[in-house]
Amino acid sequence: MVMDTLCDEYFWIWNLFVRCPGSHNDLIVMHVSLLYLSVTNGEWPPRIYSFTANGPTRTLLYYLVDGIYRQFAFLVSLFPNPTTEVELTFNRHQDALRKDVARCCMLC
């Protein structure tokens, strides 16, 4: 079963995309999922929220993913080879938050 999941801290699954085993690989499953289409069409996420990181204020909210996804503006993945203290800290925080969805996948 190929499964594309989007969930939050309380295991509420906001988006689920299920297909037959072996029919989609990691890249294709992203490109055919409705989530990707809605983001590229500008329907989701809403641009009314803003946050400030490293100075500039941004309105494009993002999803946390692991390293296998492509580099899109709405996906924030890990640094592949962290060396500096900043990168290591970021990776640690990102991993800690992303553990929620990993737990959710284990439950399913």
Partner: protein, 207 residues
């Protein structure tokens, strides 16, 4: 006024109409050809029991229901043979979720217990729901269910399809939706608290 296709085609004044009619006729012809050639048309309709054909297998639905009740749900005051952990492993959902879906679906016409032409009671909804859940949970063949709850492979496949459609229609709009503004605010605030402001949620894909 004559509105037939020939008249409209002869009418040289209004090219738009004639083009539209030609295109429409072409589309109709194409559509009819496709329908005739498609698999849907050639596939035999499911007919169930037919007089004069091979008789049905003597399945004894009640023994299947009894086995299912005894193993997983408890019958005649006895507790079920398998405990909560086994139930959750085999059906992939806890008992509460299973019964929530079962209670919603049990009165629907596609799953209700029927009486066939010979006056015999057919399979109980619990059998059908249980069979569908086991097929989904393990991804196992529908034929495998036959030995356990005494449902034919075609019945299990049909009921599974119906049940899954029903679940998606019934529970999809409630649970599989976009977050409301309040929920969105809460998630954003919580994630900012945890160190990554602006992250909505987490995306992962598994195989």
């Amino acid at each position: 006024m004559d509105l037939s296709a020939e008249t409209m085609l002869e009418d040289t004044d209004d090219f738009h109409v004639s083009f539209a009619v030609v295109a429409h006729l072409e589309a109709l012809r194409h559509w009819r050809k496709r329908t005739r050639g498609s698999r849907v048309q050639r596939r035999r309709r499911y007919a169930g029991s037919v007089a004069g054909r091979q008789p049905n297998t003597r399945r004894n639905f009640r023994s299947g229901l009894r086995a299912s009740l005894r193993d997983s749900f408890g019958v005649t005051g006895q507790p079920p043979v398998y405990d909560e952990g086994d139930f959750e492993r085999r059906f992939r959902v806890p008992r509460s979720v299973f019964f929530r879906i079962y209670n919603t679906v049990t009165d629907r016409p596609f799953l209700a217990q029927r009486i066939n032409a010979t006056g015999r009671l057919q399979a109980h909804p619990l059998q059908k729901v249980g069979a569908a859940f086991r097929v989904i949970a393990y991804g196992e063949a529908t034929d495998r269910i036959d030995e356990y709850v005494r449902l034919s492979a075609s019945t299990t496949a049909m009921k599974m399809r119906d049940l899954m459609r029903f679940i998606v229609d019934e529970f999809g709009p409630t649970y599989l939706r976009s977050p409301t503004p309040e929920e969105q605010q809460r998630i954003l605030a919580r994630n900012a608290e945890r160190g990554l402001p602006g992250s909505i949620s987490f995306l992962d894909c598994s195989h």
